[in-house]
Amino acid sequence: MKENINSWKDLPIGGIVDEPGTAMAYKTGDWRTLRPIHNSEKCINCLACWIYCPDSAIILKDGKVESIDLEHCKGCGICAHECPPKVKAIEMVDEADFR
């Protein structure tokens, strides 16, 4: 579906969203005040951050944490908090430091 429609005739019938996962086009990254920084050298790939991230923002590749989807990560800090205490491979950093 087109995002900006000119006429009601362009909408799918019945108010449905006729494709999956269109919310990816909506960026929630700017809600963040703290940014998770992932350190792949420390990471033991236990995937705790991945299973608990409410925003599906931990991106995996071949079963390993590849990166964090900063376009959608809301900066809740669950990932950093859940990362095993002995590992602490994610650090929450003030978003202002990146401006």
């Binding site: 429609i5 006429s7 009601w8 005739k9 909408l11 799918p12 019938i13 019945g14 108010g15 449905i16 969203v17 006729d18 494709e19 999956p20």
Partner: protein, 394 residues
């Protein structure tokens, strides 16, 4: 064409149509006088005469919710109800229409509480008139049967995709035995065709999201599309009615006109009262009063232009409403017809009587007297009220 002449009550005729339609899913809950439709149909399910999954829910709200779920999933789905049951569904009626689901309902008209009353009036159906459902009224068992068969094609028409209710009058039709023509299963199935859902939710390979939330940026456009579907239903109803006529013999349109061409006074009504009205018209004509009758078959979409055009040359019009809008300005059929006729600026007198609430009988003589007094008032005799009640102890 294979027709069989059989004696059927309105409920039996509706159940027979549902058997022939052989819906994928039926979800329903019992309520007098519609209960029997589902009871009879349940025996068809129990005897393996249909492929239907019957979902006997714990309430009408859930019946309509399950029906919506089934139709969204991709199933041709039907239900039946009356009165309080329809009222309990109201929230879901709007949703079925908004989701553009061609659900089909057999609605047996019954008064709404309070006081609780199991007999006929149109208050229940009228409560759902702005919900986005197509509404077709039936005069007798034959029409109930014919209308339900046509309902499938109208609702599923690609320009329409709206839910539809076909109504009969509680007890007066639902429980009265009449001789009707039943068509062969094969011919009915040919006529209705197979259901091809646009984007069924069961198609997990093409996942869709149904029932999302709109903010101010989209709601109006979605509702605009819904309104267009209802306008489009007008053509679909005529198209299907004509095709039905060429296949089964009886053609259907928005209304039936009875002795209307030269009428000086005409009554307008919905449902079974048309039968009583036709007798009154015949009697009045014998007495030299040129009476006529317009039976409105389709209430939603409201065929405003067509009704106004048909009544253009009738000076005296009497609208009989079997429900009260409690608006202090008469019944719903009256209000809508009046609005429709306003455009032509012709010189009519249109009066309204609310009658028959809670199953109160309306007699041929009462209609005769009403129409003749309207004619005499028009000729300068005793004046009569524009809006009023008929058959109540004032």
């Amino acid at each position: 064409m294979g027709k069989t002449r059989v004696a059927r009550t309105g409920n039996e005729a509706m159940a027979e149509a549902i058997r022939q339609i052989n819906p994928d899913v039926v979800a329903a809950y019992p309520i007098t006088p519609a209960t029997e439709v589902m009871q009879i149909f349940a025996t068809y399910v129990a005897d393996g005469l249909v492929d239907t999954e019957l979902v006997p829910t714990e309430s009408e709200h859930s019946a309509m919710s399950a029906a919506i779920g089934a139709q969204v999933a991709g199933a041709r789905t039907m239900t039946a109800t009356s009165s309080q049951g329809l009222a309990l569904m109201y929230e879901m009626l709007y949703i079925a229409a908004g989701l553009r689901l061609p659900l089909i309902m057999a609605e047996v008209n019954r008064a709404l509480s309070a006081p609780i009353n199991i007999h006929c009036d149109h208050g229940d159906t009228m409560g759902g008139r702005d919900a986005g459902w197509i509404q077709i009224f039936s005069e007798n068992s034959q029409e109930a049967y014919d209308n339900l068969i046509q309902a499938v094609r109208i609702a599923e028409h690609s320009d329409v995709l709206l839910p539809i209710m076909v109504t009969t009058d509680g007890f007066i039709i639902s429980h009265a035995m009449e001789d009707i023509d039943i068509y062969s299963d094969g011919e009915v199935r040919d006529f209705i065709g197979t259901y091809k859902p646009l984007q069924p939710a069961l198609d997990y390979k093409k996942p869709i999201t149904v029932g999302s939330i709109d903010f101010v940026d989209y709601y109006f456009e979605h509702r605009r599309a819904l309104a267009q579907a209802m306008s489009n239903a007008k053509n679909a109803i005529l198209e299907v009615g004509r095709e039905f006529g060429s296949k089964f013999g009886q053609e259907y349109g928005f209304y039936e006109a009875y002795k209307l061409d030269d009428a000086e006074v005409a009554m307008v009504c919905l449902g079974s009262t048309a039968g009583t009205g036709k007798d009154a018209v015949d009697n009045l004509r014998k007495r030299g009063i040129k009476a006529g009758l317009l039976k409105v078959r389709v209430f939603r979409p409201f065929p405003a232009e067509e009704l106004a055009a048909r009544l253009k040359d009738v000076p005296q019009i009497c609208v009989l409403d079997r429900s009260d809008a409690l608006a202090a300005t008469g019944g719903p059929l009256y209000a809508e017809l009046l609005a429709a006729m306003f455009e032509d600026r012709a010189d009519h007198t249109v009066i309204n009587r609310i009658y028959g609430l809670g199953g109160r009988d309306i007699k041929v003589g009462e209609i005769e007297e009403l129409l003749s007094s309207q004619v005499s008032a028009a000729a300068g005799g005793k004046s009569i009220d524009r809006i009023g009640y008929l058959g109540v102890r004032e």
